[in-house]
Subunit: 217 residues, 4 copies
Amino acid sequence: MRKTKRERKKEIRRELIIDSAVEVIRRNGFEQATMNEIAREADLGKGTLYLYFRNKADIYLAINERGSGLLNQQLREIILQNKSGIEILDELGNAYLRFIKKNPVFFMAASYYENLLKNNILTESSLTKECEKHAKEAMTYIVRSLQIGIQDGSIRNSHDPYKLGLIIWSASRGVVHAAHQSEILKSAEHSGSEEMDYASLLGIFIDVLRSGIKNDQ
Amino acid sequence: MRKTKRERKKEIRRELIIDSAVEVIRRNGFEQATMNEIAREADLGKGTLYLYFRNKADIYLAINERGSGLLNQQLREIILQNKSGIEILDELGNAYLRFIKKNPVFFMAASYYENLLKNNILTESSLTKECEKHAKEAMTYIVRSLQIGIQDGSIRNSHDPYKLGLIIWSASRGVVHAAHQSEILKSAEHSGSEEMDYASLLGIFIDVLRSGIKNDQ
Amino acid sequence: MRKTKRERKKEIRRELIIDSAVEVIRRNGFEQATMNEIAREADLGKGTLYLYFRNKADIYLAINERGSGLLNQQLREIILQNKSGIEILDELGNAYLRFIKKNPVFFMAASYYENLLKNNILTESSLTKECEKHAKEAMTYIVRSLQIGIQDGSIRNSHDPYKLGLIIWSASRGVVHAAHQSEILKSAEHSGSEEMDYASLLGIFIDVLRSGIKNDQ
Amino acid sequence: MRKTKRERKKEIRRELIIDSAVEVIRRNGFEQATMNEIAREADLGKGTLYLYFRNKADIYLAINERGSGLLNQQLREIILQNKSGIEILDELGNAYLRFIKKNPVFFMAASYYENLLKNNILTESSLTKECEKHAKEAMTYIVRSLQIGIQDGSIRNSHDPYKLGLIIWSASRGVVHAAHQSEILKSAEHSGSEEMDYASLLGIFIDVLRSGIKNDQ
DNA sequence: TATGAATGAGCCTTCATTCAT
DNA sequence: TATGAATGAAGGCTCATTCAT
């Protein structure tokens, strides 16, 4: 029990550091975040960070791990619902979009993780394994919803669900990425006065996607 | 005329620097590119770079400006063709994807530009204005193709063309981004042996998009 | 008595820490030894080390103090033997060389101590006094053997025994130091295939020394 | 010519940095020397040091390279004299001792180099090659003098000249090392009032060595 | 007495930018 | 115009030491 207590405290500190890192990134951007500032935000000494994380990269990976874990938790609940494939996919998309809107830093951390992955500069660790596991899990939910939809006839059986899933996943990321950059919303010379906000855009995206894969018969 | 000659020389030097920066980024990645190496690649003194660009950021913006300019040139030709809206959109998408596949650095530079935009750390300059103009132009081509399609009946009139254009644009970027990170292709546990390559993924994406917006009547 | 018991326990802990430090240094080298690792090796908390030693330097000094104490113990026995001066000196040298070969860390600790001494950054303490005392003692044994030898005619009476003692002492250290750095053994381009090992080198050294000071009449 | 001029300037700067490093080490000791202070001593920016040396280790190696080069220069002249082997060896020893007395930092740098060598943490470079070459050269001079002495009968033919050379070399280093630590000179409780200085000590050392190896017939 | 989490000074190193030539 | 040597702020990270428990 006593040990559990210390471990709990350790876990809390770890979370505090992740919180602080998220906050600093949110404020200054990913590239501008420094260990110094994260420490100050957490009200800790600089060296303390290294008691909980091997290095800066690990903090970022921990952010990603937390973010993807939280997201998967939500996706997991959706996939268990008794609905048609197309409806599940619909909800998965909405959940993802809502999640990123609320936690934009998680999006950046995921990009960071993928960048390391791409460049093969990830030391194997429990953290990276967890990140990998989470990434696969999210993909799996999408693929499952497509498989369900194809089986129940709500989704057209015209594409390999794996490939389709990958496309949906990455297209979503692109839209989310763009939606985040509020400025781009004004880049199109849009004379109309209708609202051009985040939610409406994402809604249309999901709608288009749905039309593109749903079975019309 | 003498002045023109000198200006021409200046322009050539400028292009040389951009070329070199592109090459260095292609070789080492965006984060690893240094002014030193760009200068060496261009066979110029490091200080010379600053005669043509105010700072490193401006070089990156110039890359984006050139890239978006070249892309727009191709898109412009497509939009002038006498085809249905859906067909034009189709070709626009293909052109974009081909372009990025051939010039991945332009994609990175565009991301860089948008990142600065988002964080409001762009000093106003002729360069940033040009970048902005190009971004709007590309968006406009997409919107135009949608408007044409709605008008000629090839595209469903169910969404505001501005919003739809924005979505298509950003979703495309997401897919392209993902397609670039070869590793993610294997992240889904994919048992099948079918090819899961770049081209096939993008093909499906365009197909889905088209289905999602075309008019079926 | 109760107090004695506690003091004994304290002494045991102290020795444990010294043991652990020696082991860590042996494993990782002098510069790479950290308080953290010494504590871990001793199965103690890091802070506990500071209950027994004022700081890291004191641990090193304690190593030196122990090492020089052990060495002196052996030298003391030799000097008491009923032999000629040259023979005693011979044995002293062999004992020293054997000792260092068996306990290389003591050699490093001695170098450390002398370095502090040289740079005048030794706070006076019982520890430093003890180190100083031990160093003097070892020197004295050598000087005594020389004096004995001069008196019994086995050693030439051509040099001040104090000076000669100092020289023998430091020359021995130099040879031992070199013998420890296995690499240097190969630094001379040595074509022959004869063995060029530690023992043979030191044997020759003692031989040369002996020839250099013994009385030939 | 113009190029030579620039190269000369570069060489001068390089030497300035080495000078400054030597000075800082002389003042603060080897371990306490920092790049910051070396830069300040040289009246240069910290970053400038890295234009002339890859890292701190290279500065130290450069000190060693310079020192061993200068020493070898002196040894080379001695070995060319038309004297008996024992006399040449005598002079080599004296030259070495004078050199180190005048340039104690070179002694430390040599120890540093040998330490890296021992621990196999030397990246191969022109600098390390030069250091290695110099070390071999010095050893060779000693061995040559012994070979000459054996041949001309001035040195006893009782030991392999390679081994003997190594011993002389390392014993000398030990004596020099000790002689440098002025404090140790007082560590023996020396009641006499005779001078116990550096020069006299080293003189005796050479004398003993000579007696130990010279041919008495 | 014993602990180990916390500290922060200080280390080496990088690199965009400047400026004398 | 062209240069590249020089700069120094800033970064990530280590580790001896302290102190609340």
